[in-house]
Structures are given as structure tokens and as C-alpha cells.
Symmetry: C2
């Protein structure tokens, strides 16, 4: 595909750093911007560069923000005693969008993975420990992913903070709402059986 | 969704200038770049900005390029006598990828649309006329889209260049290869009947 110029080829290639963008959509994006929206494209380049440069972690909860504190930590009407630990800002967002939780968050930005050299420091667990003891957190909801690594991280954190006397909980496992049992995987089904609740 | 900071919200919004990117994929892209590939993101911002600034039209065929002539116009082994007129660089690319055509191209960047103020000048038809007469083009393949506007543009161009004695042709209409007749639309089917060819 040497039909275009080196610069366009480089653009097509670079667009693929975006998740879910293959050669076809890169082409569509490049042509769209070059042919129909150069101004929007320049705005994107500028905002993207600025965000990548300025956005860092919230000092308290490690959520993404370009300020010292993120917008959640700045809200005073949140329950300081309940802290929800998540692996990523996307998880935090999903919980916020679901509604119902009014406490604070802590973002690990990953999970324990000794093989990749990701230990407790990389996840900010010393900061978490400090927050739990200093801010009188009474319940820690360990909302890491229901994967092997997420489970391991949750166990590790619960173990580490045990001495602080904080109550640790984990999201319920079970069948997802609105699904059909037929399509629920076996692991989830057996967890749902184990965790069955009295009716009414 | 005031969960993030103004700058991240602006990034989420700006990513939507990309075609096919809705709120969900904008989120996924922003988190991916911020969490896992800041370097790639900065490269994207830089290449995008450079491309939007430098890429213009080839002087001869109006293909996209940052040079004076595009890579096709620079190839000497192409047949100068055959010129294929397309609406967009994406169409040009599709024809190149299909293979089989070894002539030159001319890119209109659109089609005639008096309602939107797109007339012959915007499509570069004066340049096309000059090329056809100066470069001894013998066949003009009007490969505009098989739409009302594409047809109208093809007719207009054929009419304008009639006096130059160039032979004009249009891509064949018919059923697409590999499809099933059952799913071919009526308009295409009736054109395929009208254009039926002797067997063998």
C-alpha cells in the first residue's frame, strides 16, 4: 500500500495506537480528518497532547486528574468511612454510573503481578494504608476484577490491612441481571449457587 | 458524568471527531492512552498535527500528498492515456488495491452539489480539462459513485470534455461477485439484467 505519501502512511500507522483501530478504520479516520475535518483533527491533536502531558493521579485516591485532587475527592458530601478499591479509572466510572455507592475510591492502576514486576508499591498500597488509618475508614470494598489476579490482589490487600481493624468486603458473585441462565458460564453459576440467598 | 476532570472530559469529547467513535470508545481510547500508552498518544498527536498541516493535494491529480506530486503521479511506468476520475482518495485506494488498472487518476474530492455550493471549480474540472488536452488522454474512466450525485457528476464531466474528443467510460453495473442474488437490491438486479452479457 504505497499509494500515499510517507506522512500519510505514518499517520495511518500511528492511528493504530488507539485500541480497536485496525488498518481499515485508521484509513477511514485519516481520510475523514484530512478531507472533511482538519480543524477538528487539529483540536484533537492539541487536546490529546495537553491531556497526556498534564493528567496525573489524584494525590488522595490516584484517580486520573490534572488537578491536585480529583472531582470525587473534592466533593465534601461523600461518606469518608467507606472506601472502594478498584483496578482502573474505567472501573471507578462504571461504579459511579451504576450509582448507589456514595463513599470514596482508591485506584490501584493494575493488580499485583510479580512476573511483570508489579508489586505493592506500584499499586500505591502504602498510600492506601495511610488513608485507611488516618481517615477512619471503616469499610474497605475490594472491587478488583473477578479474575485470578484481581482475587489475589484483594486477598493481599485484606491481609495487609487486617491489623488496622478495617472491615473488608468484596462484591457479590452471581448471575448477572437480565441474562439467561443458559448462557451463564459454569464458574459463575456454581458461585451463584454457593452464595444463594434466602428468598424474600 | 462529572467524574473526571475538565481536561479529561474535553479529551473524551474531542476524540469523537473521529468517525465511528461514540462515548464508549472515546472513553476506552482515552483510558488506554492515559493509562498504558502515553508515548504512543504523544506520537499520534504530533503526527496528526503534522499531517493535517502539511498534507495537501497533488498538483496534477489532486490525490492527497505532502509533496508536489503524489506517489502515483511520480511513477513513470503508468499509462498516461488512461485517466480514472474518482470522488475521493479512499476510492482511489480501493481501485489500486483491487489491482488491474495501470493508468493515472484524478480526484474530485466530492461530487457536483449545487445546493451545497459545490460547482465545477471546487472539483477541479478546469485542471482536469487541461490535463486531458495536454497529456493526450484517450480514455476517461468516470468512476464516481453509483449514486444520483455521482451519476450527475459523471454526466456533467463527459459533457464538458466531449469537445476534446476523449472517450468516456463508466464502471459496469451489475451483481457483486460472491454475493447471493436473493440479497441483491432490485435496482442493481434490473441494471444487471439490462447489461447482461453473451455467455462465453
Amino acid at each position: 500500500m504505497a499509494t500515499f505519501s510517507p506522512l500519510i502512511d505514518r499517520l495511518l500507522e500511528t492511528l493504530r495506537v488507539l485500541p480497536g483501530v485496525g488498518p481499515r478504520s485508521a484509513q477511514r479516520m485519516a481520510f475523514h480528518l484530512l478531507e472533511r475535518d482538519r480543524e477538528g483533527g487539529q483540536r484533537l491533536a492539541q487536546v490529546l497532547s495537553e491531556a497526556l502531558e498534564k493528567v496525573g493521579y489524584c494525590e488522595r485516591c490516584r484517580n486520573l486528574t490534572e488537578s491536585r485532587l480529583c472531582s470525587i475527592c473534592e466533593q465534601s458530601r461523600r461518606d469518608d468511612h467507606s472506601l472502594c478499591v478498584v483496578e482502573s479509572p474505567a472501573d471507578l466510572l462504571a461504579i459511579e454510573e451504576a450509582g448507589g455507592f456514595n463513599g470514596r475510591y482508591f485506584v490501584l492502576h493494575g493488580h499485583l503481578s510479580p512476573i511483570d514486576g508489579i508489586g505493592p508499591e506500584a499499586l500505591g498500597l502504602d498510600l492506601l494504608e495511610r488513608i485507611v488509618s488516618e481517615r477512619q475508614v471503616s469499610e474497605l470494598i475490594l472491587a478488583t476484577n473477578p479474575t485470578v489476579e484481581g482475587e489475589a490482589s484483594a486477598h493481599y490487600i485484606a491481609e495487609q490491612l487486617r491489623s488496622l481493624g478495617v472491615r473488608c468486603s468484596r462484591l457479590a458473585y452471581g448471575v448477572p441481571m437480565g441474562g439467561e441462565l443458559e448462557y451463564v458460564d459454569g464458574g459463575t453459576l456454581s458461585r451463584a449457587f454457593m452464595g444463594r440467598q434466602p428468598f424474600e
